[in-house]
């Protein structure tokens, strides 16, 4: 990869935008430039990054997984309920991770074994997992599990489960020097995913599926296993997001992360992944996530309301996409012109 290639890449553009954004917001509000504050503010959107990073891999295969936001709630409520039943919090966490991964396996299995549009499948599981998460406390009551409270476990479906142990809260509370634990986990997660995507056969197969699924099958790629792997990873991201949110809000709820769908997909798309498949990078998604997250924090800090931020984010998504599309069209146009004129001269 030569230097010119780097400068013309979408990731470099995102990086420049990120630096410019922090500089501009810093000029308006100097406290924003404090590196410790900046790192600390990543806690507010770490769940979006966790979910968006592996979703990139699903989108590269020309698929999509919108059920992640429900898996977050499912993970959270499972964790809480198992803990309430008297199990050690970290064992409860392991069980919650397992349940979340099973949900991902269901998605992957359905996508890999039928030709049904992934949007339809994950739309169905979005409802199904959310319903399971909401109904789980009542279901456990029905099955005869005894709760401590008089209202039974069903009471938790509205209030959420609080009073989680400090060792669990410390997962998002603590930091290594000035870097919060979740952000370290995000960087490690991104590095692993990046290696998987760019340095393994599995990763190359993801791109190939996105460009031409038929050719992938004829190339002898175990396409079903690869697809299941992609949806499993996406579920893993949602599970990590669910755990982070539970720890951060110190409460296990079935509806955690429900409003994160728009920012998650915005992050992946702004990161350069093509919704039609075949392109995208983990680095791009990471940078886009930071760009959007800091933008939100910065605008909130200078007193812009949440509603206006929603408008700005939506407009930004559309503008970024339109610019990219029109630039591609213009590039093609220029290439055609150049070919034509060189033919005339020749």
């Amino acid at each position: 990869m030569n230097l010119k290639h780097v400068f013309r890449s979408w990731e470099f553009a995102l990086f420049v935008l990120l630096v410019a954004e922090i500089a501009v917001l810093g000029v308006i509000n100097p406290t924003f430039l404090n590196i410790e504050n900046l790192l600390y503010s990543t806690l507010d959107f770490s769940h979006i990054l966790f979910a968006a990073l592996p979703l990139t891999m699903v989108i590269i295969t020309a698929g999509i997984d919108i059920s992640g936001v429900s898996i977050m709630g499912l993970t959270s409520i499972t964790l809480g309920l198992v803990w309430v039943a008297g199990v050690n919090i970290f064992v409860a966490m392991a069980i919650a991770i397992l349940i979340g991964l099973l949900a991902g396996l269901f998605n992957g299995f359905f996508v890999a074994n039928t030709d049904v549009n992934p949007l339809v499948i994950t739309l169905g599981t979005l409802f199904m997992f959310a319903g399971l998460a909401q109904g789980m406390p009542a279901l456990l009551d029905l099955l005869g599990f005894k709760a401590y409270g008089s209202g039974g476990l069903a009471a938790y479906q509205y209030e959420g489960i609080t009073g989680l142990p400090d060792s669990f809260i410390h997962l998002t509370d603590g930091s290594l020097w000035i870097i919060p634990y979740p952000f370290i986990a995000i960087l490690i997660f991104a590095a692993i995913l990046s290696l998987l995507l760019h340095k393994t056969r599995f990763g190359r197969a993801l791109y190939l599926i996105g460009v031409n699924p038929k050719a992938t099958i004829y190339s002898g790629v175990p396409i079903k296993k690869v697809l299941i792997g992609a949806y499993l990873l996406s579920a893993l991201g949602a599970v990590l997001a669910g755990i982070t949110l539970t720890s951060y809000f110190t409460s296990a709820r079935a509806d955690l992360g429900g409003d994160a769908l728009l920012p998650i997909i915005t992050t992946v798309v702004l990161g350069g992944a093509d919704i039609l498949g075949g392109s995208g990078t983990i680095l791009g998604t990471l940078l886009a996530g930071l760009l959007l997250g800091f933008l939100r924090q910065g605008l909130l800090a200078i007193g812009v309301t949440n509603d206006l931020i929603q408008v700005v984010t939506g407009a930004l998504l559309i503008l970024a996409m339109a610019t990219k599309r029109l630039a591609a069209v213009y590039g093609e146009f220029r290439l055609n012109r150049r070919t034509l004129s060189s033919k005339e001269r020749g």
Binding site: T114, V116, G124, L126, F127, A130, Q134, V311, G314, R325
Partner: protein
């Protein structure tokens, strides 16, 4: 007619009938005329939004902003009414708002070449944000009686809005089956490049689809504002996903070119009926989502199995037919 008996519409209608009959075994009240009428009445908002979404899905697009568009139109309706506008003007303002919101999507998708899911995700955020900015985040209450009145009208014991929606469905069904430009939606969705080569105005057709989605969302906004009598900030929240689910249930294919207004209507009716039947069975509302998801997945799975089996049979009969012809010649 023969095609109708093999169609998804019939499958869903049968499922709906089975659902209602089984529920009726547990709770006789289901069979009352009022209960059935009430299911229709409750499904109107989703039906109207789904009809608009249908045009977009037919052209192989997707619109996830329809719920937000309906919310925005409802806010405009409520705000103008509380400013003292006559009801006719307020309704017109709401319809214009919805249509314009659809046109913004259409412009971005056809002229700026933004992929539909990205464009409408963006406007989903924008319209929801605008709703709160216009109202300052508070609900719109104390609406004048003039907007709540139509909800009480009934003709032959059937609410006025049910009649209105039935007429809208009938018009839409007639036009999509008989009018030439309406067939463009199917052509564009089935094969965009082929449609272009045939001289069909592809961009204009796509533009019309998103505009119609906005228009229908505004109609839905008027109905639910009248039915509920206030506008909350969560109005029509999540209806975009329900509308897509209703279309898929009703046999409107996300790969474009296949589906009917009848299908979209029945899909929406089914989604609502599941909710109502759970209430009749005494199952708490928290299970709504789980049932909706399981039913959606079951239906698409059955459809997949039926489709692949039919394709396999056709291929086998073709092979057999060809070998028979060869045998006859020799």
């Amino acid at each position: 007619m023969k095609r109708f008996f093999k169609s998804r519409e019939l499958l869903i209608m049968l499922l709906l009938a089975v659902l209602i009959i089984i529920t009726g075994l547990f709770n006789k009240n289901v069979y009352k005329f009022d209960s059935i009428s009430e299911i229709f009445n409750a499904s109107l908002t989703l039906t109207l939004i789904s009809l608009g979404e249908m045009f977009v899905i037919l052209t192989r697009g997707i619109d996830v902003s329809v719920g937000a568009t309906a919310g925005l139109a409802a806010v405009i309706l409520g705000t103008t009414l509380n400013l003292g506008w006559p009801i006719g003007w307020a309704i017109l303002a709401a319809i214009i708002t919805g249509t314009l919101a659809g046109m913004v999507n259409a412009f971005g998708i056809t002229s700026m070449r933004v992929p539909p899911i990205i464009m409408t995700l963006g406007t989903l955020g924008i319209y929801r944000g605008l709703m709160r900015i216009i109202t300052g985040g508070s609900w719109i209450e104390n609406l004048p009686q003039s907007i709540k009145e139509p909800n009480r009208w009934d003709i032959l014991h059937v609410p006025f809005f049910v009649w209105m929606t039935l007429i809208v469905i009938a018009i839409t069904a007639y036009i999509t089956l008989k009018a030439r430009p309406a067939r463009y939606f199917y052509a564009v969705g089935d094969n965009e490049e082929g449609a272009y080569l045939l001289g069909i105005p592809v961009k204009l057709t796509q533009f019309a689809a998103y505009t119609l989605a906005g228009f229908f969302a505004a109609l839905a906004a008027i109905v639910f504002t009248s039915q509920i009598g206030f506008v909350s900030m969560n109005a029509a929240d999540g209806f975009e996903l329900k509308a897509i689910a209703a279309n898929v249930l009703g046999g409107v294919s996300l790969t474009g070119g296949i589906g009917t207004p009848l299908g979209a209507t029945i899909g929406a009716l089914f989604m609502t009926a599941v909710h109502s039947m759970l209430i009749f069975l005494g199952i708490p509302g928290i299970w709504d989502n789980a049932f909706a998801g399981i039913i959606l997945l079951t239906v698409v799975y059955i459809d997949y199995r039926v489709r692949t089996t039919i394709e396999l049979q056709q291929r086998q009969s073709r092979i057999r037919g060809e070998s028979g012809a060869v045998g006859g010649e020799s």
